[in-house]
Amino acid sequence: MLSMLPGLLVLQTLDAQDAGGDEIQSPYIEFKYLKNTEGHRILDAKIFLAGELGLIPLEGLPVKFYTNYEMPELLGEAITDKNGVAHYIIPENVALPVDEDNNWWFYAEFEGNERYEMTMEELTVMDVNLRMSVEENEGGKKIFLEAFTVIDSEKIPVSNQDIFVFVPRMFSLLPVAEGYFIDGEAEVEFPDDVPGDEDGNLTVIGRFNDHWQFGNVEQRAETTWGVPSSHKVAESHRALWTQIAPRWMIVTLTILLAGVWGHYLFAIISMIRINRDGKRSE
């Protein structure tokens, strides 16, 4: 019965896939704001399906981005990439309207098509200016951060807010330290044991990460604070193509064959002794 299962599973999956092809599906949207080191304001809308197999990003879908809550204005449009992300950089010359709390309002919408239903999401963020400097002295490796907002041309320092320090890793940003803003300033000690490249180069990122008020705002700095590490993998030749077999293989085969043929020899000697004994008995 066990052996029937793979077949049943395959057939079941094929049926499910066929059935899924005709229905209009409901995608989800994940909407994020990022202000990067260069001061670019970026809107990312990720559209995906949530199924039993996990999140399936949807590629090639148009997403429209709007601002101004009172009277929505189209900022622009972007198409989702293979990761399902529509990436829109707000041009620097665009003046974004703020509400009474001094927040920007953004809205992302996929209007739907014959396969997927319409989906949308909105977010509000307050513009914050983040500055970062790094310093290494006898006291250790320090990161100094400064953050402030500007309301009616007045500079207001950020207080009582957390900030995180990250380093980029293969799939995501790895948080390595944390700081706290008091009167617009935060000081963070950077750990000594974070691996860098083979020369110890490491990008350090100070970041408001998914902050409830500021969204994602980051500053990056290149440092040599990483522990030098070599990622070179020793070149390994496939033994099959080498001139001489690996020593372990020669040793293993010799032991195996000697063991087996040794026993054969024992059996043959036994036969010779049987023969000799027979002759003696005659």
Binding site: M4, V10, Y264, A267, M271, R276, D277, S281
Partner: protein, 436 residues
């Protein structure tokens, strides 16, 4: 309780040695005819080249390699079964063990010939011995097969010594002088002294243990030829044990068929009873369960992994090879399980049917391991002609396959003219004799 005397044993188990029945000639004639057709096909292949086979650029391994794996599997199964029966002194082994030993040696002699049929440049064959590369799995296989062949020959010969001595000394039956002379040589002067008995038993025990180990290693090596190859469906860590289990499955099936065949032809009903069929059948049942588990595990992990080429291969198995796949991996496992598993189905006829299905299922299993993979190369097939894309065996390949089966039968029948197919010495010491 009917007690079988030694005199009766010798008389009844040597009928084919002292005379030749009509059935023997008839069956032998059929086998020789099939073999002759195979020889004609081989001449055609040598004359016209491999174009007369279904093998082309992509599918370079066809039915010949399937047969090679199949026969080698039968051989290793024979070795395992005979080794285990001997070592564990199974009380019912006596009428069965010689068949298992013969399956081992004869299959091992036939299997490699299919490699020769498959090779395009036979003139390069000596290079394997002249310039062996230890790091090549093909060299491992050559070494393993030669080692196994020697070991199995020695084990078979050791188990025959007592029978040869008995046939040399017996006066109960009339044996031709040339055969008497042959037995005198082959018996190695064995007269059954305590020392000789001790030496023989120890040698047999050692060799029984060795051939079990060798069978497992050697068939694993054969499986690794596939396992170490980066081909869809082959690059699997489970292939070693999977092949060993599959081999024992097919060998057990063949053992049952051979038991029934020679039981009928040589009138051995008194010695090979339903009990023996049930016992070997139960062995088939247990191995079928393991084999089913391994098959399931192999395909499930491939399917679940969703590697593109594995997925294409599995789709192909369920489309182009649907019937073969179902027969090999479903019916070939389930029917033996059901027949032997349910007590009321356990008749000799049913067990033999289960064995035939198991054996055929295993052959098809080998086919769907070898051929569909080669039809699913990583790089697209460059030739658009259908015979380059899809492999179909030709009459030449089928004839040589049938010839392989026929030569197996011929060897079995020829051996039966020299040595008893049911071991007299084993029967003598067996409690079975007393029970009957």
């Amino acid at each position: 309780m009917v007690r079988i005397t030694k005199k009766n044993l010798v008389k009844e188990l040597t009928t084919e040695i002292i005379s030749t029945s009509r059935n023997w000639y008839l069956l032998f004639g059929v086998f020789v005819l099939v073999w002759a057709i195979g020889i004609y096909a081989l001449i055609q292949q040598i004359d016209k080249g491999h174009i007369v086979t279904g093998m082309r650029d992509n599918v370079v391994w066809g039915v010949y390699i399937v047969n090679f794996i199949f026969f080698m599997g039968l051989s290793y199964a024979g070795a395992l079964i005979s080794g285990v029966l001997h070592l564990f002194k199974s009380p019912w082994r006596a009428p069965v063990i010689r068949f298992a030993e013969l399956i081992t040696v004869i299959s091992l002699c036939i299997g490699p010939f299919f490699i020769f049929f498959c090779i395009g440049r036979l003139d390069r064959l000596p290079f394997l011995f002249a310039f062996p590369r230890i790091q090549s799995p093909i060299t491992w296989d050559v070494i393993a097969i030669i080692t196994d062949l020697f070991g199995c020959f020695i084990f078979l010969y050791l188990s025959l010594i007592e029978d040869f001595a008995m046939l040399r000394d017996t006066t109960d039956i009339s044996i031709k002088p040339w055969k008497k002379k042959l037995y005198r040589i082959l018996a190695l002067g064995y007269v059954g002294t305590k020392k000789q008995h001790r030496l023989l038993s120890r040698a047999k025990n050692v060799m029984a243990a060795m051939i079990i180990a060798i069978a497992i290693i050697v068939y694993s090596v054969l499986a690794w030829i596939f396992g170490v190859t980066l081909q869809p469906g082959w690059h699997s860590t489970i292939f070693g044990p999977y092949f060993v289990i599959a081999a024992v499955f097919s060998g057990t099936g063949l053992l049952i068929i051979i038991m029934q065949l020679f039981r009928k032809i040589y009138k051995l009903e008194k010695y090979i009873t339903r009990k023996h069929f049930v016992n070997v059948g139960v062995l088939l049942l247990i191995i079928a369960a393991f084999y089913g588990y391994f098959t399931f595990s192999d395909y499930l992990t491939k399917w679940y992994g969703s590697v593109k080429m594995d997925k294409i291969l599995i789709d192909k198995l369920f489309e182009d090879y649907y019937l073969m796949f179902i027969f090999a991996n479903y019916l070939g496992i389930l029917i033996p399980l059901i027949i032997v598993g349910i007590r009321k189905f356990r008749t000799i006829r049913n067990i033999v049917i289960a064995a035939v299905i198991a054996l055929l299922g295993l052959w098809f299993n080998r086919y769907i391991i070898v051929v569909p993979t080669l039809e699913t190369p990583f790089l697209p097939v460059q030739d658009y002609r259908m015979d380059f894309i899809k492999y179909s065996p030709t009459w030449v390949e089928w004839s040589l396959t049938a010839a392989g089966v026929a030569i197996f039968g011929i060897f079995m029948m020829l051996v039966s003219k020299i040595a008893p197919l049911v071991s007299i010495s084993e029967m003598e010491v067996s409690e079975e004799v007393q029970d009957q």
